[in-house]
Symmetry: C2
DNA sequence: CCCGTAATTGAAAAAATTTTTCGATTGGCG
DNA sequence: CGCCAATCGAAAAATTTTTTCAATTACGGG
């Protein structure tokens, strides 16, 4: 994972600094972290640098930014998946079986050219029921 | 639309103030407005009051808050629909034909109880192609 | 292996956004 | 019509993100 991300950085002509690597490692430890959670995992990296690293990773397609109602969160953009959000405990989890897999989206009729999509499912998780 | 929203406010024991009505009217003029756009449509209402009205409407299910990458936006929560976001011009549009209509979401296998869902489709709109 | 240079970093300041506070005002019931 | 809890607005505070700029550093070329 690190290797792939570093490859994209190199390919883009960006430098592989210890700070960027530290942020990548922090991202790899858990999905959907807030900025503060992320920062706690690499306290040696300055706040501004974390923001800039996340921007860069976003451009390179390494990281996705989410906002599911409680502020920005970040995840490594590996594999196609969608999100379940528990409205009781706030937990965010993922599922990979995409309901749109073989289904054409109805948006073609608008002349819309699809590049990507996301699905969020809101409800109660098993633990909260 | 106004009537229904005011009914919910009354039903919840909240007062129908001119400010709240002004924000509702502003919301009705266009979907997916930012706070500033909204505020430009009811400049007589104080900033804080707009925030509070939006919070209240959110609790009452009158308004939904979106964050599709460029900050918070607000829409009247009427009818089930999803969003197409053009990555060229940033335009947000809606479609009503829900691809999950009759399709069971695969999340039941996680013991997850579904209350709602949302879909966003990213790509290029007809105008930008 | 060292050097030069452009990219990167970090601290401070600025900007942007959202929330809190609290005294003044007001909608709606009696 | 009058009361009073709910609401409002302005200012201040808190939070989040971006900008600035001088110091540091990764890394390709010599």
């Amino acid at each position: 994972m690190l290797a792939a991300a570093i490859g994209k950085m190199r390919g883009g002509g960006y430098k592989t600094t210890p700070q960027r690597v530290a942020v990548l490692r922090a991202l790899a430890e858990e999905q959907h972290q807030s900025l503060e959670e992320l920062r706690a995992r690499c306290p040696e990296v300055g706040l501004v640098t974390v923001y800039r690293a996340l921007d860069l990773f976003g451009e390179l397609g390494i990281v996705r930014r989410l906002d599911l109602g409680d502020g920005a969160r970040y995840e490594l953009a590996e594999g196609h998946h969608h999100h379940m959000i528990c409205e009781s405990c706030g937990d965010i989890s993922e599922f990979e079986e995409c309901p749109l897999d073989q289904k054409p989206l109805p948006v073609g009729s608008f002349g819309f050219e699809v590049h990507a999509h996301s699905i969020e499912v809101y409800g109660r998780c098993a633990g909260c029921r």
